[in-house]
Symmetry: D3
């Protein structure tokens, strides 16, 4: 049994940038849990159940990957999962500072847990769930930014995009 | 007929920093459209009609400048305006990262449209519409930060400022 | 009578990082006023009276330190206090840009007032009142991050943490 | 006669990232001068004549583009060229701060000259002449990073690369 | 046989910050090669043989760790070592941008190799080999910043430090 | 006897940006020592004696200001001067990271010494001694960037500038 890592986030919805990081993670760790944060205090566009379903449909068949939800402290979820590595994607300077803050706090809460950062493909450096919603809500085309199933759900919610130019 | 560019934003309200960027733009492009975003999802302090009126009164007589409002995707507005350049002011590292994200997304949505960045005068590096509201709401003096007409409207809303020291 | 400085903030609640900056300030200035912002427009978790009480209990006996609340423009509070130095802690690049913006605006509002920046101990680089609430609300242990009295109040609000590992 | 802009740099050697910026510039300005800095104080790997030849072979046939060398102050070269816009590519936060410094100084030296910033394709965000030398000198493959003619010259200098994997 | 990773650098000399990252790596990967860059083009204070000896004495007995030197492209060294993960410590925004550039180039040179970033303890955020030399050369005390053996060698080179205050 | 602070640097040569920071410092501290670093390892354009003379002529008559040179560790110079505050100007994100590193190291070397950061006027945000040399060496006009005496010395070295446009 090899190393197990957790890739946490809101995944609201899962994007191709998340999947890129997840694929890179599976080359490094034997098992990776994509862990969807369900804390009630955080506003999300899609409910937890919808985010879970979209993520499972998008990545559920990747070898070594499972998709779970969690509530409470992330470090407690890792203990419960018997995992000791947190995976985070990092794209920008502002990501970096927030991530630094979270990593230091998580270390303080549980010093046995380590955070590693991966960089997504440069094709996804500009991509975020928030931006996907913004584009889709204005009927922009999100083809290639999210898995096909997620695109269909976004089109159901906001109407179809107008295609690539 | 020379090049046409669009300078988009919320302009809530227009500040002297915006006007500085606009003036620099007109030296470079034959026609510049100051385009006020009217998407309902974005909270604004002033309604779209008020923002339009303040902008028109402040810059409407600059040669080559028109003031418009738009809704929907910015790249679609450019196509409709037969413009292919987006102008953005850039002041800070955090601006830069957000702008990078938007530029890459806009390129993806329409690869014929290019974004250029201009730096305002160093006198306006600290200026934002948000900060103008904050100062005016505490009765601080905003002379020199916004056009005279805008200052009058802010004073009507929040009460007069207490003058420069 | 030596120099008097003001250390402004929301202090919602006061953390050990704030106290670290305050202690460093007292080595430099004869009198330091910890000034808690009470502007109604800013959301706070604790009401002004609670923030004042926690701050007074935590630092009220430090030599040369007083704790006050203020409303309105910070520069006006300094004039009223006969102080001419603003103290700010700075931890991160994103802090820096926001602080730059505020310092330039404050200089414009009152050019006799100067802002100085101090760096907290590296142990507090990741610490913020917001993060303390987030951890406490998930029953994480905040021992060492806030004064004992504040910790008790947080535990009363959110339930006790689960201890250091 | 439309707008004329200058795209200055060391171009030591010209890369596909430079050509990307140049192409974007030509959509915006009628004439663009790629201007190679020949100040003796700056160390360069290739001599000025070689850099000029590589740039001319790579971009000399692009419509509206000329390749020149210059010495002395950039703003003086613009005056001599009857151009009033400087074009710069911007990729990273550290670029941004250096560029800000140069833009402010150039404005001070000649307030009629404006600098605009363009972002290269995300494929070239990591690319610099320096990195190209480093990779080529270790016999790494630089196919796709520089024009074919430049690649041949680099291979003549450092030996052939080992091909993409 | 589990995952093998390479932690490359100049290690000129190895510091406690490097050892911190190395220890964190060994919790994640079964075997970690600390790989000292010996390219002649890079200036180093200590010769390669000295850097190798200091690193081996400092970390040679950590389980799963070996210390090697390499020349040429890092990605070629990984192939030769049958490793597919590069480990890098990341402390600051400026690190981040340089690391991003290198990661993208390494991916281009060999897409099977992935880079992961770890954050050192906050106690080592300010630490670099360069700063250690600067302090030691001015007879400042470097106790706690480098392993005891390295400290002895620095004191032999620059004279003893003056002790903690 | 009030607080004494040290403002260290290379001052190669002193610029109006340095003088701006110095003036702000004197409002806060009773005595300020402008301390010119004379470590032989650092390359400087002007020799230490010339930098000292230019600084003394430029600021020697400011109340509470003395100009000194120092060698060795900055913290040792502060102890010798019976000062316990280091003053640094901070202009940019890249400054901030370097300054953070130095502040943490200086704290480690002597925990009684504190560093404070001041922001120069926005007119000097782009100014550095290095850039002054670069402009002067290309016969650009440096009026207003350096004191009149320094300008004369630069013109003696590089030839006169061509005046503001």
């Amino acid at each position: 049994m090899g190393k197990k890592a957790v890739y946490p986030g809101s995944f609201d919805p899962i994007t191709n940038g998340h999947i890129d990081i997840l694929e890179r993670s599976t080359r490094m760790f034997d098992r990776v849990v994509l862990a969807i944060l369900g804390n009630p205090a955080k506003d999300s566009v899609f409910p937890l159940a919808g985010r879970l379903r979209m993520a499972r449909e998008s990545v559920g068949d990747m070898a070594g990957v499972t998709v779970e939800t969690f509530q409470g402290l992330l470090v407690d979820f890792l203990v419960q999962q018997k995992a000791d590595v947190i995976i985070r994607g990092i794209r920008a300077v502002s990501d970096f500072e927030y991530e630094f803050q979270m990593a230091m706090m998580n270390r303080r809460l549980n010093s046995r847990i380590e955070t590693v950062y991966l960089m997504p493909s440069e094709s996804y450096f500009y991509l975020s769930s928030h931006l996907v919603h913004e584009v889709a809500s204005l009927n922009g085309d999100v083809t290639g930014l999210v898995p096909a199933g997620v695109q269909k759900i976004l089109e159901g919610k906001y109407g179809p995009g107008k295609g690539r130019k």
